[in-house]
């Protein structure tokens, strides 16, 4: 198993960062770090010790959900983790309109000025992804395989 269980002191640091960027205050998960500084969240009932024991009898590939990654001093929430934490996210939310949504879900960056750093994108009552702002533009972090593949409609 190519993973490391995150200690409670590190979990506190991660939570502090998520709180600072997004306003997230609770992470009721077992956190695991895998390659490329990816943090995964596991809500299952097996303890760390039981998972390690299981790993002696089964080839474990993946545990839980890809929650966030730590890159360039930023902590970036994963696309699917956003919906997990959507009730807690209060900071760095950029609201977009229907035209911008049509571009966003097809993987285009948006010409929206916002303060530098990771952002959460919202359309009406939906959180529709995560991105990063360089103050001039919002870079689109929708995973390639999840982008809508139809042409941009004329709105």
């Amino acid at each position: 198993m190519n993973a490391r269980f995150i200690k409670s002191s590190e979990k506190k640091e991660i939570l502090n960062e998520l709180n600072e960027y997004y306003g997230v205050s609770k992470l009721p998960y077992l956190l695991i770090e895998t390659g490329r500084q990816r943090i995964r969240a596991f809500s299952g009932s097996l303890s760390k010790e039981e998972i390690l024991k299981l790993a002696r009898h089964a080839n474990i590939e993946i545990i839980g959900l890809y929650l966030a990654s730590k890159r360039d001093d930023d902590i970036r929430l994963n696309f699917d983790a956003v919906s997990l934490l959507k009730d807690q996210i209060k900071e760095n939310i950029v609201e977009i309109d229907e035209k911008q949504l049509a571009l966003w879900i097809r993987g285009f960056d948006l010409d929206i000025k916002y303060k530098r750093g990771p952002v959460v994108i919202k359309y009406k009552d939906e959180i529709v992804g995560v991105g990063k702002s360089n103050e001039e533009k919002l870079f689109n972090y929708i995973p390639k395989e999840r982008k809508v593949r139809t042409p941009v409609p004329s709105l």
Binding site: S43, G44, S45, A58, N59, I60, R149
Partner: protein
Amino acid sequence: MEYKYQMKPLLKERMQKLLPDEQDFAEYERITHEETRSYIRCNTLKISIEELFSKLSEKWSVKQPFPKHPEIMLVLSDLMPGELGNSLEHTLGYYYIQEISSMLPVLSLNPEPEEFVLDVFASPGSKTTQIAAKMNNTGTLLANDLKIERIKILSSNTEKCGVTNCIITRNDAINLCGNLSKTDFKFDKILLDSPCSGEGIFRSSPKTMNIWNFNVIKGLSKQQKKFISLALKCLKKGGTLVYSTCTHAPEENEEIVDFALNNFPVKIENLSLPLKSRPGITEWNGKTFHKDIIKCARIYPQDNDSEGFFLAKLTLLEELK
């Protein structure tokens, strides 16, 4: 009538034996060349059934055909190719596109919150994500498959559906169940949705007709007996195993359940399904099966305008060593 894909003569002969009524067989043959209907399953880990139904109803005609299973929705609108997979709601993982008969094994297994559940052949993840939703991301779900390409598809689907209670393993099923059977990891429920010859999925995968081969069925039948033998050893006493395939071949269905009933302390349960099903057959090519085999369910495409499926639900009466 000439179709692009034709049943091989032996397959046709076997299906006619299973469906001796001429009109019934003709109906079966006709429907296997039609596309399936557009069923989806609400991913309750991300959105409520009511909210999704309301959102989808704004763009499509949608109905919930099964009052006991409101998460299952049927899209009645004429859709553009790929339209279901290109909606915002699909991108956000609010629903999973899943053929209705493929939802039945998990409905029969009935996983509950806090349970310890094993999905032996999990990829692509339609049933894994359905199990996780039933468990409300609690308990632990062990989802296994063999090849890394299949694991990637499985994990992409568990991620998309927001599954957090799952541990994905990559093992040969025989090794996994063999190893786990020697430990104190015992499962409340196991889904053994076995690799099979795929006679039930001609509608979505018509090429399967061309690759059908009776020798493959004989080989699969041997393997499936090993799978069920070892999977049963991983169950808790009183635990449930659902055995399912997407094929009609009795060698891969009733013969496997018959093998389990005759060799292990198991009982077969009655199934309560939202689709019309036919009982398991008690005789095939000179073999007579256990009398309780009638409790198995055969799903024929012509009965429900679905794909074909087979399932059986077993309870383990005493823990196996």
